[in-house]
């Protein structure tokens, strides 16, 4: 089987701060990482490969330095890596990104499953996965916390705020995976060395793809970011100051009153 995983290189926002004056992320000195939930998507693909055989291809659109993220993915176990990089792709919003990724995936040829992270920690839109499924005209299941392939179908659990839904879709399909799905494996030392010394990242530029120029990059982006701001923090949590046993009882009753338990 062939599994395609879309990954994005993002600034490690656990350390990032926002410049209060300009509203922009302060990116200086912030390390770049693979978007965490994309690692969960990759882990699912690697597990499926171990179970059913086949290959895992990681694909990313970004500047040349996204090479590092793709090599890290190969160090985790991906067989091939493709980087979509061209000045013409720069400034893409989620739609232009999904369109470009879709064009590249069509070029790869046959595949069984496309896996994406639920959302990226820098933009938080959760849009690229669903839009990509539309461009590829394949079924999609979002917010997946558990999945398996049974015969020619993918069976997945969708994790919603108030419920879990079990879905089934024909292959090929696209799934977006949440952090709850798994604990991504560490790259192994052996594979780290292979990823740099024995493997290459395949580069795709605009000229390599069958794309409509008006639908890529800044020109192909119907949306643009107007302003970035931190939402007001929610009010402080309530602290129940009682004996542990009594506090647990109060908490239990509150949760039951809200139908959570």
């Amino acid at each position: 089987m062939r599994f395609i995983v879309c990954i994005k290189q993002v600034p490690d926002t656990t350390n990032v701060k926002i410049d209060k004056r300009t509203g922009r992320l302060i990116r200086e000195g912030i390390p770049s990482i693979i978007n965490p939930e994309d690692k969960n998507a990759l882990e699912e693909a690697l597990k499926l490969k171990e179970k059913f055989g086949g290959e895992v291809i990681v694909i990313s659109m970004g500047p040349p330095q996204a090479d590092e993220a793709l090599r890290e993915a190969m160090a985790m176990g991906a067989d091939r890596a493709i980087l979509l990089t061209d000045r013409a792709f720069a400034g893409a919003d989620t739609m232009a990104t999904a369109y470009s990724l879709g064009s590249a995936i069509k070029k790869i040829g046959e595949y069984d499953l496309v896996l994406c992270g639920r959302q990226a920690i820098d933009g938080d839109t959760a849009q690229v996965g669903p839009q990509l499924a539309e461009f590829l005209s394949i079924p999609q299941i979002t917010y997946v916390s558990d999945l398996n392939i049974e015969e020619n179908k993918v069976v997945a659990i969708q994790e919603l705020e108030d419920k879990r839904v079990k879905w089934e879709a024909n292959l090929p399909a696209l799934l977006t995976v949440t952090a709850e799905a798994n604990k991504p494996r560490y790259p192994t030392a052996y594979r780290i060395m292979s990823a740099y010394k024995e493997k290459d990242v395949e580069i795709l530029e605009k000229k390599d793809l069958d794309v409509d120029e008006k639908r890529i990059g800044m020109d192909g982006s119907p949306t643009s970011v107007k302003r970035i701001f931190s939402p007001e923090p929610k009010g402080k949590g309530e602290i129940i100051k009682e004996e542990p046993k009594k506090a647990a009882g109060i908490l239990f009753n509150r949760l039951r009153a809200k139908n959570i338990l």
């Binding site: 090599r71 160090a75 192994t188 030392a189 052996y190 060395m193 740099y196 010394k197």
Partner: protein
């Protein structure tokens, strides 16, 4: 001069750093209190391929070179010196001598499973009457047909009770002493006549085990001589050259951890209405620590580079071990002082790190022996010039 670290080794550093923080750090407190070998995290390290970092890929290693290995030891050293010690004894003192001196058969049979982390290694030199004076060992190996018969007792052997494969130094010709009379053997766990004696209870590095190894008419096949008969001292010296470098790398990591913890604490601890960082007394402690860490790290990386050129690095390796272990002990002492009472309490890691650091000035050659090695090398250079 190019001081950049190759990208693959940066990824290795990032991976080991994350691994050490997430998989090693949580087990260290219990491990230290109970003096228990960290079996689970060592297994995880093996899974990551950390047990054969400098070993070439054809023998099951990662092929990450001495630099990759030392970077990993540095990151582990930031979190736990017990894990670093276990890894160091296994890699520098067992894997590397077999790769340097072993026959092809020995490499296939012993190095491959060691480098893959399927087996654990150890190195047995020290005896009750021979430590710094390594040539004074008394364990004997006497030829008997296709075998050598080993008799004697080794003490304080790191990984002794856990190791599957042990390099043992013995006397094969007492008259020749260090020059031709000492032979190294590869001995497998379970060989009749080999048993593990007392397990030591220690001040620090309580997760790594040091134990007695007792040889009573232990018959080892002659194929298991490592290097040439009588050339055991060379195996020992060359192994230690590497061991001292990786040990120094671990000290750099430990000292960096002291520095990081001190800065964080000094910036956040408010006394007299301001962070204690704002006192020059504290600033000077931290700047000296930062300077020494910088110097030690560059010494280690430079010596690794020197090793890579194929030149002898015995002097530099001894200098790295000497300096890095001394700055580590100063750094942890300063860090404890900056943390005050909190540094002295067992519920914070500084107290353990203080106990763990002290051994680095003693093992793999005391710092006094390092000075002797450096002096000998200087004398030799003087004679040559």
């Amino acid at each position: 001069m190019d001081y950049s670290i190759p990208k693959e080794l940066e990824l290795l550093r990032k991976t080991v750093k994350e691994f050490a923080e997430k998989e090693i750090a949580p087990v260290v407190e219990d491990m230290d209190r109970e003096g228990k070998f960290p079996e689970e995290s060592i297994k995880k390290m093996a899974k990551l391929g950390l047990m054969g970092l400098p070993v070439s890929r054809k023998y099951g290693g990662a092929g990450a070179g001495m630099l990759g290995y030392c970077i990993a030891v540095e990151e582990i050293g930031k979190v736990c010196n017990s894990h670093g010690t276990i890894l160091g004894a296994h890699t520098s003192l067992c894997c590397m001598p077999i790769e340097m001196f072993g026959t092809e058969e020995q490499k296939q049979k012993y190095l491959v499973p060691l480098a893959k982390g399927e087996k654990l290694g150890a190195f047995a030199l020290t005896e009750p009457n021979a430590g710094s004076d390594a040539a004074a060992i008394e364990t004997t190996a006497v030829r008997d047909g296709n075998y050598y018969v080993l008799n004697g007792t080794k003490i304080w052997i790191t990984n002794a009770d856990r190791a599957d494969i042990i390099i043992v130094l013995t006397v094969t010709d007492k008259a020749l002493g260090a020059r031709g009379g000492i032979t190294a053997f590869i001995v497998e766990k379970g060989t009749p006549g080999l048993s593990v004696g007392t397990l030591e209870d220690k001040m620090g590095i309580r997760g790594s085990s040091q134990a007695e190894l007792i040889f009573e008419n232990c018959r080892v096949p002659k194929e298991n001589v490592l290097g040439d008969v009588g050339a055991g001292f060379l195996v020992f010296m060359k192994g230690l050259d590497c061991g001292r470098l990786s040990l120094a790398a671990g000290c750099v990591g430990g000292a960096q951890a002291c520095l990081d913890a001190s800065i964080k604490f000094a910036m956040n601890r408010i006394q007299f209405g301001k962070p204690i960082w704002e006192n020059q007394a504290i600033q000077w402690m931290i700047t000296d620590m930062a300077t020494e860490v910088y110097a030690a790290r560059n010494m280690v990386y430079h010596a690794i580079w020197l090793k890579g050129t194929g030149k002898r690095f015995t002097k530099e390796s001894a200098m790295c071990k000497l300096f890095a272990s001394e700055i580590l002990c100063r750094a942890i002492d300063t860090a404890l002082q900056i943390h005050g009472g909190m540094g002295y309490m067992k519920k914070f890691p500084i107290e353990r790190m203080y106990r763990d650091a002290r051994i680095t000035r003693i093992y793999e050659g005391t710092n006094e022996i390092q000075r002797l090695v450096i002096a000998n090398m200087i004398s030799r250079e003087m004679r040559k010039s």
